[in-house]
Every structure is written in structure tokens, then in C-alpha cells.
Amino acid sequence: MKDIARQSMSIKVESMDMLNAQIKMEAHASATYLAMASWCEQNGFFTSAKFFFKQAEEEREHMMKIFNFLVDTGGSPISPEITNINHDYASIVDVFENTLEHEVKVTKSIHNIVKKARDLGDIATERFLDWFVMEQVEEENTIRDILDMIAITGTEGVGLQMIDNQVAKWIE
């Protein structure tokens, strides 16, 4: 019997499902960073706002990378529906702490897909995610560095202004 299904699609449907969930997660991250940029703008943290605008764009690029991979492999990418975006933060420290939490969640999700792709013998998906694994190391490190800088600078007096100015270092 001619294997039309395999000729039309190079990955397993389980991988496709997990990658579609990841598309949604990246889109959610992009929308969350946009909300953070909005908060920063409204509260006078203009450099941090620029940082989050850039982060929002990057997350969308990640989403599109996965979307295009599903197109290339003959899968069915699903345009995500995004709801429940938090716009309320207690402080700039709260914003960056939430960012780190979000990045850790994304990392865990990527690692989970890699492990499952390995179990399925889906080498294409596993190799495709190599880039994301290393990207997440970089993303987490950036936010950790910013939180370290905040801890050293402190939030008293002109500390908040200094924090915002120093975030410029992490905008490439």
C-alpha cells in the first residue's frame, strides 16, 4: 500500500499537537510582554518599555518559527486564540520577576516536547528544537542578570530610575 500519509507529513501528530500548544504559549508570551511594555510606559520606565516591546517581537518570531516548521513538515498549524493577559503589576521588580517565571515555564515546555519527540523517535522535531533550547538559556540568563542588577542597585531614592536606565544594556 502506498504510504500517502507519510509522503504528505514528516512528523508525528503528537509532535504537531505539542508544537501547536507551544505556538500558543509563545503567542501568549508575546502578548504578555506587550502588556508589560504598556505598564512600563504608563509608569515612566521608558527604557524597560523598549526592552519589552523588543521581547514581544522576539516571542512572535519564535511563534512563527514553529508555525513555519509545521507548514514545512506538512502539518496543520493552528492560529492561537489568546486570552487572560495580565496588565497589573505591583512594581518594576514584579514585572521582571514575572518575566523570569514566564521564561522558566517556556523552557520547561520546550524540554518536555524534546523528551516526548525523542520517545516518539521524531528526530526532525527533536533537532528543530535544538535552537529553542539554547535560546531559552539566553533568555533566562538575560532576565536573571536584570534581576541581579536590580538587587544591587536597590529601589530606594533614584534606584528605580537607575534600574530603568541600565536595562538599556540588554536591548541589543
Binding site: 504510504d3 499537537d17 496543520s76
Partner: protein, 106 residues
């Protein structure tokens, strides 16, 4: 045409010469590309069968299923949906595109 999988009510077939699949839904047989079959899979596995047992969420226990870019419309009851889920899950295993018998929709 080769039969890929047969459930209680439905059957999935492959027509290699046409590079297409046929889904026999009893009252109608639908021709599908693999993309359309993937779309059907997504729709069927996204249906929450739990809502069929909650009259507030699904009063009549029916699902309206539109296939192939709204070319076909089906109204299926709870048992038919469960059977279609079964056909989709086992059909993709038989096609070699799924490694598991129980797939979870994204």
C-alpha cells in the same frame, strides 16, 4: 480503495491513485486530503465529551461538525462523537502518523 480503519459507525479509506482519503459517515462519504483529515482530527479531538453530560453546557447533547472548509455539515450525537474520536485516534495510528492510541488535541 483500501480500508484504513473501521469503527462501529464509520470507516476511513485511502485511495492511493487519487492521493486522497474517504471518510464514510453513513449518510454521506466525504473525500479529503491529508490536510483536511488533520483539520477533522483537530475538530473532533477538541470536542469536550464531558459537556454532553452537563445540560447547562450542551443542552441537547449534539455537536455540529463542519468539514472541508464548510462544504459538509454533520449533526452528531454523543455516541457518534465518541465513535468518531475512536476512528480518528485509531485511524492515525493505522496511517503511521500517530504513535499513540490515545492522542490529545492541542
Amino acid at each position: 480503495m483500501v480500508e484504513i480503519y473501521r469503527s462501529k459507525y464509520y470507516s476511513l479509506h485511502q485511495a492511493a491513485n487519487e492521493r486522497a482519503f474517504y471518510l464514510d459517515l453513513g449518510q454521506k462519504t466525504v473525500r479529503m486530503s491529508l490536510c483536511q483529515l488533520l483539520s477533522l482530527r483537530h475538530k473532533v479531538l477538541s470536542i469536550s465529551i464531558e459537556t454532553h453530560f452537563d445540560s447547562d453546557l450542551n443542552k441537547h447533547g449534539f455537536e455540529v461538525l463542519m468539514l472541508c472548509n464548510k462544504e459538509h455539515l454533520f449533526i452528531l450525537n454523543t455516541l457518534e462523537i465518541i465513535d468518531l474520536k475512536n476512528l480518528v485516534e485509531h485511524g492515525f495510528v493505522a496511517l503511521g502518523l500517530s504513535a499513540e492510541k490515545e492522542t490529545i488535541a492541542a
